[in-house]
């Protein structure tokens, strides 16, 4: 199969699904902003995985190269990233996304509470989005997976650097750089947690010596 035909007739629908989910995220965010006077995220971006990298992923997984596998066996063909200022904002976005109509949360992975061994932190959600247009299996209404990654700006900066290291083949001292990146991740996480705590104190949500958030 030629790589620019992997998504076939679903390609256009995928873009509309992505736009639609992003529009809903913008909607709940502006509603939240009206009520609370502050934004829920700093950046919102979306991408359709290039057919080239989808093809190599399918091959890596040992699957047959067809639209169905690209869109139903692999779940990150449509990706959305929500980048927030504070950790609490990440979890508020997660709550809002769970309540979106017309889509169902298929899996959730909290890599903030359970950081990956290399230091990676993010919250991952996979949505099953229902659309009136047909899907890769020919069903109408159709179902499309949308992967949403939520993280703080610090986590996003870290992930950008880690991504660069991972995809650059000829790095000298790769192991050492990996160790130092992991240390940076732990320091950034410390800052995220400290700033979140200070924000709660400033807002008066932490009373002196109280164990819990009120």
């Amino acid at each position: 199969m030629e790589q620019n035909h992997l998504y076939g007739s679903c390609g256009e629908t995928m873009r509309r699904v992505m736009d639609s989910v992003m529009k809903r995220i913008e909607e709940y965010s502006s509603q939240y902003e009206k009520e609370h006077g502050e934004k829920l995220y700093e950046h919102l971006s979306g991408r359709i995985k290039s057919e080239e990298s989808m093809l190599s992923k399918i091959r890596r997984l040992g699957l047959e190269e067809n639209t169905q596998n690209a869109l139903r066996s692999v779940t990150d063909s449509i990706g959305i990233r929500v980048v927030c200022l504070f950790i609490d904002d990440v979890y508020e976005n997660v709550r809002q996304i769970r309540n979106l109509s017309g889509c169902r949360v298929v899996t959730e992975k909290d890599y903030i509470q359970n950081a990956k061994p290399n230091g990676y932190r993010s919250y991952h959600l996979i949505l099953d989005f229902e659309t009136e247009e047909p899907d890769a299996e020919g069903h109408t209404p159709g179902h499309y997976y949308v992967e949403i990654q939520l993280r703080t700006i610090a986590m996003d900066t870290w992930a950008a650097l880690e991504h660069e290291m991972k995809y650059k083949k000829d790095i000298v001292n790769q192991e050492l750089i990996g160790q130092e990146l992991c240390r940076c991740a732990n320091e950034l996480a410390a800052c995220d947690v400290s700033m979140q705590t200070l924000k709660r104190i400033i807002r008066g949500r932490y009373l002196p010596y109280e164990n819990t958030v009120c």
Partner: protein, 221 residues
């Protein structure tokens, strides 16, 4: 500066206690090794001065028990014996210095001052409580995952870990963690809040109990 002094001879105990008190030290005097280990775990001291030959529990055994509990308080042995093997055994049991009886009071207080200067160097690399592990070298805590700690947070947590058997007061924390700095008690609760959030973020089954009216203490959830 608060000193734990263990000596079974009551005359010597009184003379040394009086001298050290006159020098401005606060002295808690006990008469055997068992009492010394009890006081060392139920209270916190800047230095321990201990006789080797004592009834009930000798000084060497007491010293070993104190060190096994994670207590790194600087310690000086007083020994009537001048045998090399006693001094070696005393230092290996965890003492930092020794004085052979009879000794000059001035020398004892000079050695205490020398120990105080070095106190900050005493550090245990890895400390644990429940599933929470503190690495004082890399300034990180680990349970389900890892997070970095600020220098003050390391001092605060290591003091709480070393005194896990008892509660520590706000006053003790100010003295231990913020020594010689002019900070107000609100600083303590802010750092307790930072630590609580970080302990929670590594998903440890541990929390810090306590508030303004009650001593702080690590607790397994």
């Amino acid at each position: 500066m608060k000193i734990l002094f263990a000596e079974d001879e009551s005359d010597l105990r009184d003379v040394v206690s009086t001298y050290l008190a006159y020098q401005g030290y606060h002295v808690d005097a006990v008469s055997n090794g068992r009492e010394a280990t009890e006081r060392a775990t139920s209270d916190s001291y800047d230095a321990i001065v201990m006789d080797i030959m004592m009834p009930e529990m000798d000084g060497l055994t007491a010293m070993r028990k104190i060190r096994e509990s994670g207590n790194t308080t600087p310690a000086i042995f007083l020994t009537a014996k001048s045998e090399i093997s006693d001094r070696v055994e005393g230092l290996d049991a965890g003492a930092d210095d020794y004085l052979t009886k009879p000794f000059a009071m001035e020398e004892l207080s000079a050695r205490l001052r020398a120990l105080e200067r070095r106190k900050r160097d005493y550090k245990i690399r890895i400390m644990t409580f429940g599933d929470l592990r503190l690495d004082t070298e890399t300034c990180e805590i680990r349970a389900q995952n890892t997070i970095g700690l600020a220098h003050k947070e390391v001092r605060l947590l290591s003091f709480l870990m070393a005194n896990a058997d008892r509660g520590v007061t706000e006053e003790e924390l100010l003295k231990e963690v913020w020594s010689n700095e002019s900070v107000n008690p609100d600083t303590v609760w802010m750092y307790i809040s930072f630590l609580r959030a970080k302990i929670q973020s590594v998903q440890a089954g541990v929390t810090i109990d306590g508030d303004r009216a009650h001593p702080f203490r690590l607790k397994e959830i």
